[in-house]
Chain length 346, copies 2
């Protein structure tokens, strides 16, 4: 489904003078990582595969690359996220080959229910098709707004599971193009606007607002379960792009001011079984918002986001999605291979 | 069961001028870590708990401590292993309170079957009782030898799951004191001598040689399953004290010389589910030997130690336990708190 540009990556590595390189990949690009490794070794490089499944550019393996004596890292599947990198890193985003227009065409009458002025968002996988989608929608009488987003994203109109900045624009409703429900759920909750998710693979369209209400009810149930907890473990991840120490310290201060015990816990990949031995009655995960939301069924203690702690303590009443915000975004990433990090001079 | 010397740790932290500290703990000392955190915060320090379950001094969280802005690391449960540390680290070994002599007394007739001259070994948990054990055995007519061991261990007579250097002495048989079967299994295989394990908690004694034969047969079955594999993933761990890169490169070279494909893979905690997406037909784990041996039932592909690859390729015939060897050991660690790392001047 995804094409990895072998020749271009080899050229970049030559430009960097790299001889030993670490390749990092998400679950869906494991075979592509193996093929790239074979190609690079045939061309004289020494290659190591990173064994951990990667979930985003927020978790580059640059420190491991350095530790393993590699002069470069190849990060497959995601575009650059603004972070300080220890070694030159080649980001190879994965763009899906699927055409998005047929699914839009099929669901035009549903899309019309969003209103005339619609915000258009998608994930990195389909970002290269956003122009075609906009053209099609404009030809059909819509006024299309594509938000610039902040520095955590790479392109206008891109949303992450932890960042919906590009969806927060003046519009009647939001049209999300992509698969999976986590992103459009976040869009619906973060924008509080009618949100329609169109899946370019299946051609289906799903209204997210009822789903969002369902999720919010489930999250309130988690909050209720944590209501009487006396002690909270506040968990941060040491993953470079998820390490929200200041936010975690704020949560701890809040909890303590409200008479709860709170303790900061740090770990790489956050999973409940490793925490089982501690005595905390509830947890707050101040890292990737997918962990407390998508994984809460694997936790035997209530697990909240930082925003949900504010609801628990009665400091707010309206449910808010946990986002990791960036600064002002000054440039777009290329729609292809990009090199960042120390020797790349960026 | 274990006493953590709060006052002594606080004094060491004051000596180091530390204000923010990370506490790392194994599964069995989670509550003790929480109590220590509470005590240190009452005394003005800022404390973070490390969330990952720690399995040994081979995996100090010194790099995470640095990343989190801590000026010191407290490593609960294990003594220092010779590694370069990024921050001053207080090692607090955990000594079991159980008396070992009653179990020896109860099993004297079994112990006599080992012969007159016996090697005495134990784990770090019971090392402080080794003198009493030796005295008791000498009074009962044994000639007791306690091997010095190499630099990977902290004290004479100490064995690790990856190092049996202190058991390799001139003796008729080996007496192991401790719980669990992994260590004495390793002792029996590594020394090829009659090995008796005496458990000071239960008072039971277990002859390890039949167990060792059973394990070796199981391992040969793994080797047989990997016999026709064309491609091998050779996995190293980025954990500081398990990163055996040179050994892994040797394994890759050997496999390739014998017509197999082999690829180096690096990850922190080695677990099969993360590797599932790759196409390798077999794996070699060049890290902690417990991973391929204790965890092989969770792997859907055959998983070998580096030593087993030599058997697979027909380079050796006799089964050998995978050990991580140290250099010459120049000093013993104290039987208590010890400080190592950059500012500690060691």
């Amino acid at each position: 489904m995804h094409e990895v540009p072998h020749g271009e990556i080899l050229e970049e590595l030559k430009g960097l003078g790299a001889r030993k390189v670490l390749i990092q990949s998400p679950e869906g690009l494991r075979r592509e990582a193996e093929e790239l490794a074979r190609f690079l070794e045939e061309n004289g490089l020494t290659v190591i595969l990173h064994g951990e499944v990667n979930y985003g550019a927020c978790d580059p393996a640059d420190e491991d690359a350095k530790k393993l004596g590699c002069d470069a890292l190849i990060h497959l599947g995601h575009s650059y996220m603004r972070l300080n990198l220890e070694v030159p890193t080649i980001f190879v985003p994965a763009f899906a080959k699927v055409d998005v227009v047929p699914a839009l065409k099929r669901n035009l009458s549903e899309i019309r229910k969003l209103g005339k002025r619609i915000a258009l968002v998608t994930t990195a996988q389909h970002i290269h098709r956003l122009g075609e989608a906009r053209d099609f929608l404009e030809k059909n009488g819509f006024e299309v707004v594509i938000g610039r987003g902040d520095s955590r994203v790479s392109w206008p109109g891109q949303v992450l599971g932890c960042n919906f900045s590009s969806a927060k624009v003046e519009a009647d409703g939001v049209l999300f193009i992509g698969s999976g429900l986590f992103h459009p759920l976040g869009v619906a909750i973060a924008t509080k606007k009618p949100t329609l998710a169109v899946n370019p693979y299946s051609g289906d369209a799903t209204w997210m607002n009822a789903e969002a209400e369902r999720l919010i009810r489930k999250r309130w149930a988690q909050i209720a379960k944590a209501m009487d907890a006396k002690s909270f473990g506040v968990v941060v991840s040491t993953k470079k792009g998820q390490l929200r120490l200041a936010e975690a310290e704020k949560v701890i201060k809040l909890l303590r001011e409200h008479g709860r015990e709170a303790r900061l816990i740090a770990m790489d990949r956050i999973s409940y079984p490793e925490l089982e031995g501690f005595s905390f009655e509830a947890y707050v995960v101040v890292a990737c918002p997918r962990v407390p939301i998508d994984d809460s069924e694997n936790w035997r203690k209530p697990v909240l986001t930082p925003r949900e702690v504010e609801l628990l303590l009665g400091l707010k009443e309206e449910y808010e999605f946990d986002e990791i915000r960036g600064a002002e975004r000054r440039w777009d990433e290329p729609l292809g291979v990009a090199v960042h990090g120390p020797k790349a001079g960026l």
